[in-house]
Amino acid sequence: MTDLTGRIESLLFVASRPMSREEIGKNVGASSEAVAAAIDSLKEKYRSENSGICLIDNGNDLQMGTNPANREMVDNVITREINGDLTRAQLETLTVVAYCGPITRPELETIRGVNCAIILRNLQMRGLVDEEGADEGIVPYYRVSVSALRFLGIDSPADLPDYDELCDHPYLKQQLSTVHPNEVKL
């Protein structure tokens, strides 16, 4: 067997779907700390702008993909996936989830000022937003999916425009501090 990084590389290569850090740990038989370190070094390997392969990471799931810059050439050999346009409400919701995720629905609604139940469901049906925690009986939180990052042509939410400025903007902290956990609407 190769070292841990190599095993994760093999695993992600054959996975054909986004795989959570937890699943990766189970499959390669390593602790979450060891997996996290190995993932970091794997990302390092594929970070170069001329790499043909990229590692997409939404903070929970990972998937290997082609470098977005090579899209046109890749289209020669595989069928192009149809993404379809986003409505303004979908775009706005996806944006907040992408920059602030993982985020709960009450937090999202505090930022958008509008009920987001239907739009979140829509985005989940399109596979652009992932819900986590619902099965564990906690308030579910949402994050942008690996597929959404893939379509956007970025490796992780941190690659979004002005990410550092927005993700911990003082307004954001001030606004989210007004959300009480008991305001959760089901």
Partner: protein, 228 residues
């Protein structure tokens, strides 16, 4: 003018578009200035009552509160203001702008493709251990629980309201003919809650413009309006 709530992604989107129309920057003063347009807008859409209207009304209430605060700065306590609408709107605007950049990424031709590992022939397909009819039934019940519709919210109707400008005009007219008038007469017998709020805001506005004097004998008593 024909308005459609669906043109906006929410009340904050509507506020942004009103503020941009006025070419103003986001702040409490601006918000208090566009309160009237916002309420006028909601008047126009009252024939259709989409679920989202509730969110628009929450913001309407906060605008009215802000407006009354600017009109009567000394009479209202500062604490217990709840979340700051101006901050919320500024934050919303940041994401509103970011969403345009995200859309450019979405529409650009650059995106990553993934590979599908070709299916392999497995010696023997064993059914998954948890694939039983009972598991399916349990799973279906669990799904139905999630799909259970929420209890319907009691329905109420929104009162037909007049705009603040109309109200100001009508108060001026009352005063022009009589010189003094009671607030109860200004709002009339059939006034709804929103109507009373608008009338009161109109009154405060005129008071601020020093167009009239106000007198109230006791708390919650009728207000006597006199021309200056």
């Amino acid at each position: 003018m024909k308005f459609n709530l669906e043109n906006f992604t929410g009340p904050l989107d509507l506020l942004i578009s009103l503020i941009e129309e006025e070419k103003m920057s986001i702040g409490e003063i601006t918000l208090s200035k566009i309160t009237e347009q916002y309420l006028a807008y909601l008047d126009e859409v009252e024939e259709v009552l989409p679920d989202e209207l509730a969110d628009f009304l929450v913001v309407a209430a906060r605008l009215i509160y802000l407006k009354s605060k600017t009109l009567l700065p000394r009479l209202l306590p500062e604490e217990d203001d709840g979340p700051d609408l101006a901050v919320q709107l500024k934050l919303y605007k940041l994401f509103f702008d970011a969403s345009k950049k995200v859309n450019r990424l979405w529409l650009s031709d650059e995106s990553a493709s993934v590979r599908i590992e070709p299916a392999r022939v497995v010696a023997s397909v064993i059914p998954p251990a948890n694939f039983t009819a009972e598991e399916l039934r349990k799973s279906f019940r669990h799904l139905l629980q999630k799909l259970q519709p929420p209890k319907p919210i009691p329905e109420t109707t929104i009162d037909k309201t007049v705009s603040m400008k109309e109200k100001i005009d009508s108060i001026r007219k009352f005063l022009a003919t009589a010189g003094r008038v009671n607030f109860s007469k200004v709002v009339g017998d059939l006034a709804g809650k929103t109507d009373i709020i608008i009338s009161f805001l109109a009154l405060l506005e005129l008071f601020k413009q020093k167009a009239l004097t106000l007198d109230q004998k006791k708390v919650f008593g009728d207000i006597i309006i006199k021309k200056i």
